[in-house]
Symmetry: C2
Subunit: 408 residues, 2 copies
């Protein structure tokens, strides 16, 4: 039998439980949307206040050196590297995921001249599809080819420059097989580019072990870097000296302060930097990443599987109208769980009114994110209990929860 | 005779003087580098603390709507529009200047198919040259052509897709003739793209009056939006429905929350948005821009000319070893003043030790920025006095101010 006391006992035995109080939890709220925007680490406000009221206000331009602003993208990149199984000199924090994806896709086409196809999955995260579409629109003769992820390996041939996929499906939470697909890409002479936005910080990621060529990811989901936090990019060491940054700004220049008229790429991953980054945004991410230094990453996989298993068990026991849309095998499932319901929009509105925040994705998907770092077993139990109440009383049928004509 | 009391009298009569106390001035420091990083408006820390400690911490994902985070790029863009003589729906705050320049140059080549040359000035801001170089490297058959700004008009022909120039030369502060060069570009069937980073907020800019097609600019210099503040881009109304964003991310989608598999551009300037922006960085810029709502922009030109004239007069009177590198005509000169000295690096180091911050640009250029919004006449007088002392006592020859092998 699963009840609240057994969940409480599991929290007490959880080796990751000590991270929960390091985040700000609003009272009477269960937050299951860390897969979209992570909670705020309590250390952030003081760090930002120091940056603004001391480093900017008093240090002014000198803080680019004196306060270490200039070095943030690579210093923070090295911290992220540990979370994604990369070497510290293979990652930079910079720009947005979309911009980074554009940079790496464009660079990939130049690393594989003569191959003119970008291969991806039609269920890839939409902005990843849009970015690839924008690039092939810009490059004459290039094509974006869409194949279901199960057919990607069989679709590889000598026309493919790069395969780009999300490590985790943003709708279902299915984990794609990074090592196998990367191997298949390499066997066909193509590069493999992974979007880690929905996996890093919740699922163990082994870029180096898989031999992945390129990757991008997002700072504001499971990394808890704050709204619109800087994203990151990864370039495998042996590609770094061959890669040409397509958006070649001064931050990627070998001598940025020499103000030379000709572009010359910086050595290593720094060449993928572009324009001036926001130390404010960087500092929030940096502070959030400091929490990760103490995290045993193997525990993430264990706890993620346990939290999501618990939620699925409780929802399937108490909410027969909800149909699981995520893989049932926890090894194949990342850190969120999705259920389908034809009135999904209204259900999520009603659940939010009951103090549980998840999200809704058209047309019928309810998503619940379980961040191993700050969500506990009692949170899962309470959220499932409130969801069951909403479903049983059909509170979601009230007019106030009805879907508007256009959702934004 | 120019002395401190006459300068004090001018401050007292200055209609812009009321803005000075709205910025944080570190004690015993005269800050003449607002052309690189503007000072901190005193209202910023409270705004950021509210954003972090309330909107992020408690509002969490809901704040994208409830706190207006989502709308920031266009709402802030509309505030910038007033400063650059654009319509409110022609500007968006987003990304970095370098990324925005890439986006608009790429879009310009698509607006002028068949024309394969980007024309610019070899003295354009280096990162602008690097970005254009990166784009032509990506697009087969394209060329970046460099001509001195005095020869730009004569270099226009039917091969030119777009002329891209900085409105103000970052070294000399020379203002380029936006209306005349834009007219010449149009007469040749080319587009004109202006970088306003060194003019907006210090020099009146009339994009619409000049008929400029495209523009980019920076939020952290004269706009005082904080280190690494979001940049902005401008697209003239009649180009907006024809333009295709080359980096086409979900923020520029017609229905970003429908998560449709195919890209469809948003109407208007919104289509030039790309990935998720940082509300933190946006909020600092937004707060800084609120100060501008009350500024009579015509006064900027008057005061900028007066401050820079005063500085030139004092330096030429008291520092005969410094040679003016900026235009003498204040109508041709933006808001910074440059002098040359063979020991320029050491002079600037010594001057900084004396409490005056300007900057140095290789090989021999001293730059002093005069931000009309927070620099007064007494500041100019005191800065010139300290500079004269440094020069007269040759304090800059001390070993501690010697230039290191590599300056960063």
């Amino acid at each position: 039998v699963i009840d609240r006391p057994t969940c409480l006992a599991r929290d007490l035995a959880d080796p990751l439980a000590r991270f929960r109080p390091l985040f700000h939890h609003p009272p009477d709220l269960i937050y299951l949307e860390g897969n979209s925007l992570g909670m705020m680490p309590k250390a952030v406000p003081a760090r930002l206040d120091a940056l603004v009221s001391r480093e900017w206000a008093d240090g002014l331009i000198r803080s680019w050196n004196d306060a270490g602003w200039w070095d943030m993208p690579l210093r923070i990149g090295a911290k992220i590297a540990r979370l994604i199984g990369a070497h510290p000199d293979e990652v930079a924090a910079t720009d947005s995921t979309s911009v980074n994806l554009f940079k790496l896709l464009a660079a990939a086409t130049q690393l594989r001249p003569g191959r003119r196809v970008i291969l991806t999955d039609p269920d890839n995260f939409p902005t990843d599809l849009y970015i690839a579409d924008g690039l092939v629109n810009l490059l004459p003769g290039y094509e974006l080819r869409l194949r279901p992820v199960t057919e990607i390996a069989a679709s590889l041939d000598e026309t493919i420059a790069v395969v780009t996929l999300s490590h985790v499906d943003y709708k279902t939470a299915a984990i794609h097989d990074m090592p196998a697909i990367t191997r298949a890409a390499h066997a066909a002479g193509a590069l493999a580019l992974w979007d880690l936005s929905h996996s890093a910080g919740a699922v163990s990621v082994g870029l180096a072990a898989a031999g992945a060529d390129l990757a991008v990811g997002c700072g504001y989901k499971y990394l808890n870097g704050g709204p619109g936090a800087p994203a990151y990019l990864y370039v495998r060491r042996d590609h770094q000296e061959k890669i040409r940054a397509p958006i070649s700004g001064w931050w990627g220049h070998a001598e940025p302060f020499a103000f030379l008229p000709r572009y010359a790429p910086a050595p290593g991953i720094a060449r993928m930097l572009c324009g001036t980054q926001s130390p404010l945004a960087m500092a929030a991410l940096d502070t959030a990443l400091d929490l990760w230094a103490d995290v045993d990453l193997a525990l993430l996989d264990v706890k993620r599987a346990a939290l999501t298993d618990l939620f699925i068990t409780l929802v399937e026991r108490d909410c027969p109208d909800l149909r699981l849309a995520s893989p049932r095998d926890p090894a194949a499932r990342a850190s969120h769980v999705s259920f389908r319901h034809e009135d999904g929009y209204a259900v999520m509105q009603a659940l939010r009114a009951a103090g549980v925040i998840g999200d809704f994705r058209s047309p019928d998907l309810l998503r619940f994110g379980f961040t191993p770092l700050y969500i506990g077993y009692v949170d899962v139990f309470d959220a499932a209990t409130r969801l069951a109440l909403v479903m049983r009383e059909e509170g979601y049928r009230r007019a106030e929860f009805r879907r508007p004509a256009r959702v934004t």
